[in-house]
């Protein structure tokens, strides 16, 4: 049993590392998006700052910090200030319960690659990401501007309705693995079906996987569901009145949410960090993290790919799609999964 001091110390270290990695990942997801979309569209993306524009995220960060932080006179200040913080805090919080690999031992101390190993990890993620809606809704409302209001309304309506399909699509996985702990869900996916197919939940739950993916796109306000910030309709939606670092916070929140969604999808459907392990002990310890990162990268790439391909839904079509198509499908999937599991047991 660890002493309380070392527990706090280890948790702190892990938090700092996780935060650093997450924020870097957020910055470089932006770079990746600009680069990949650029190449898809017959242009180069960032090339000026550093080799391949690799220092572009740093330059952007510096720019955001040094920009004048305009606060329009007509806003309701307390909520206007709080909204971007809420958005970014809730977006970053959910990383706390996400495991990125098996436990490792450094200097004789056994520790898991996860800030907090709680047995209701998935519930925490769902709850915390739902709270993120407040950031968006409050931003739209407190800005006291019509475009922001419309954007905020769209965002809250969209996120609340897609939350249901998103939650229901995950229940099938929960039935299969019988746990809410992310670590146990991943462990349940080790091994193979008939010796060849990895025992990932995507195979028995592929409908749920696609429902999750689509609902998650809507949750994170990405194309084709990026209505709340539809540039050509609402100028910038809920963050029209935000500038400098406050705008950057919304931006960070969006990308952090994308990464969270990719993490959850990998953990729940694609076997988390499972993958071939070989080589010396150090490599053996690092490989799971690598496999996990690879899956996340894959998801982010699909996100970007879709952005380069699809137009945007209209508001009513989006709602109809969520309520009339995704939700019934999710429920049907849930019922069938429950029946199959009941019959098998």
């Amino acid at each position: 049993m660890l002493s309380i001091e070392s527990f706090v110390a280890i948790s702190l270290i892990k938090t700092v590392i996780a935060l650093f990695v997450l924020l870097t990942a957020v910055a470089y997801t932006v770079w990746l998006e600009r680069k990949v979309v650029g190449h898809m569209q017959n242009r180069w993306g960032p090339t000026r700052v550093g080799p391949f524009g690799l220092l572009q995220p740093l330059a952007d960060g510096v720019k955001f910090m040094f920009k004048e932080d305009l606060i329009p006179p007509h806003v309701y200040k307390p909520l206007y200030m709080a909204a971007p913080m809420l958005a970014v805090v809730f977006a970053l919080t959910s990383i706390a319960v996400i495991p990125v690999g098996n436990s490792i031992s450094i200097g004789g101390i056994q520790t898991s690659l996860q800030i907090a190993d709680v047995n209701i990890g998935l519930l925490i993620i769902l709850g915390v990401t739902s709270l993120g809606v407040y950031g968006v809704a409050l931003a739209g409302w407190s800005s006291n501007s019509k475009y922001s209001l419309l954007g905020g309304l769209r965002a809250s309506a969209q996120m609340v309705s897609y939350e249901i399909a998103l939650g229901l699509s995950l229940v099938g996985v929960l039935i299969l693995s019988g746990s809410l702990s992310l670590r146990e869900i991943v462990d349940a996916q080790s091994g193979t079906y008939w010796g060849v197919l990895p025992r990932w939940n995507i195979f028995p739950q592929f409908i749920a996987f696609f429902i999750y993916l689509m609902a998650a796109y809507a949750e994170t306000n990405r194309i084709p569901f990026d209505l709340p910030e539809a540039e050509t309709e609402l100028v910038a939606g809920y963050h029209t009145e935000y500038s400098a670092m406050k705008f950057a916070m919304f931006f960070m929140a969006e990308y952090a949410n994308m990464i969270t969604v990719a993490c959850v999808a990998s953990l729940l459907f694609l076997g988390g960090w499972h993958g071939p392990r070989f080589g010396p002990p150090l490599l053996q310890a690092i490989l799971p993290v690598f496999w996990f990162a690879l899956r996340i990268f894959g998801f982010l790439f699909v996100y970007i790919w879709i952005r380069g391909t699809l137009p945007r839904f209209r508001y009513d079509q989006l709602m109809a799609f969520g309520w009339k198509f995704l939700l019934p499908l999710a429920i049907a999937n849930l019922v069938v999964t429950a029946l199959v599991v009941a019959i098998q047991s």
Binding site: V37, M40, Y147, T232, R312, R314, Q317
Partner: protein, 389 residues
């Protein structure tokens, strides 16, 4: 509309007042929103005032004039030759068409006939410009609906057209390619090869745009049934061009009143049925293919000979007036010129297709959603330089 516009923009009061003025928009569910002139999707400086019920559009009002340069007035203080480059600045994405319309109108006024070779060059360049204009329309229209990539594809391919323009007359956008009486420049060496190379280059690219959009479920849902306008309404409002043709009226001035050398070519006029945004998209895509057909015939049959008719150094048409119109990429572009026998026109009135087509906006978006307003502005294919002049 005019009587409601006061000189001070701050005190502008729209006729789209809230139905219950004593209530706030939260009580009445109605919301007046000002879209533009600085808005990413109003194609320049169009200002649209929308009355909304939630997301539903109850009415619109266009405020134009932010790009007004008084082109028609300028004409009264320039000679006929000097005014020629000004027309390029009206519809700057289809400058060649503007120049053609003006030159032909003055030629008609003077009873001059451009030589056949000049007419062929005119047809080739005008059709190339139609392609460039439609490409720009497609890119921005798709971007407005949220598809980002077609914009970059169309701009990549439009570049090839601009290169031909640049080689021909030195300018890429406001070309001033034609002169009254014909063309100033003979085609450069390799012009025909360049054009032939281009007409082989473009069809696969058009297929590429179509692959991204035509059968894309989201694109179809966003455009089908959106911004419907009937043929009768089109005629009543004077709407012309692809918007009219998509409503099922087979009216194209290139066929109806052939000008330049159009009567010598074989091409079809694509028409739609339902008059919605999707049909207008399909009509324009097909028009691009038809333009390629015209260019191919023109470049294969281009005659030898002079490129300039006998035109006096000082252009001084006899007293009289003339209306001449051509089929610009956006619709009927007409010039009404009154001559008082001097070297300067007494009055020039331009009938710009964008301005007239914009009238249909209110009719097309009433009862639809905010997102459809954007789609309809895109599908009308307006250029504010031409709306305001």
């Amino acid at each position: 509309m005019g009587d409601q516009i006061t000189k001070d923009p701050a005190s502008f009061i729209s006729h789209l007042e809230l139905d219950q003025p004593d209530k706030t928009f939260l009580d009445s569910n109605e919301l007046i929103i000002n879209m533009g002139p600085q808005h990413p999707a109003t194609h320049g400086v169009l200002r649209v005032i929308l009355k909304l019920d939630g997301e539903k559009v109850l009415g619109t009002e266009c405020v134009i004039g932010y790009l007004h340069r008084g082109v028609e007035k300028i004409a009264e203080h320039r000679t006929y030759t000097m005014f020629n480059p000004y027309v390029d600045r009206m519809d700057y994405v289809a400058a060649v068409s503007n120049g053609l319309g003006y030159c032909e109108a003055v030629e008609k006024l003077m009873n001059v006939q451009a030589p056949p070779r000049a007419n062929y060059i005119r047809v080739i360049l005008t059709e190339l410009n139609r392609l460039a204009s439609h490409q720009l329309w497609l890119g921005t229209h798709a971007l407005d609906i949220g598809a980002m990539t077609p914009l970059f594809y169309t701009f990549r391919d439009r570049e090839e057209i601009l290169k031909i323009f640049e080689k021909y007359c030195g300018a890429r956008l406001t070309t001033h390619a034609f002169r009254i009486g014909g063309c100033l420049y003979e085609t450069y060496d390799g012009f025909e090869q360049d054009v032939k190379k281009f007409i082989d280059f473009l069809p696969p690219k058009i297929d590429e745009y179509e692959e991204l959009l035509t059968t894309n479920r989201i694109w179809v849902e966003r455009t089908k049934g959106v911004g419907k306008i009937t043929a009768a309404d089109c005629v009543a409002l004077g709407v012309t061009g692809p918007v009219l043709r998509a409503s099922g009226v087979k009216w194209d001035l290139r066929k109806a009143q052939p000008y330049a050398a159009y009567s010598e070519f074989d091409f079809d006029i694509p028409i739609g049925q339902s008059g919605d945004t999707y049909d207008r998209y399909l009509v324009r895509m097909e028009e691009m293919r038809q333009s390629l057909r015209i260019i191919r015939q023109a470049v294969e049959r281009i005659p030898e000979g002079p490129i300039m008719a006998k035109v006096p150094k000082v252009i001084k048409p006899a007293v009289g007036e003339i209306y001449h119109s051509i089929e610009a990429p956006k619709g009927e572009l007409g010039y009404f010129i009154v001559s008082d026998g001097s070297t300067q026109p007494y009055r020039i009135r331009v009938r710009p297709p964008s301005f007239v087509n914009l009238q249909a906006l209110d009719l097309m978006v009433r009862g639809q959603l905010v997102a459809d307003v954007i789609a309809v502005i895109g599908t009308l294919d307006i250029v504010l330089g031409e709306v305001d002049r």
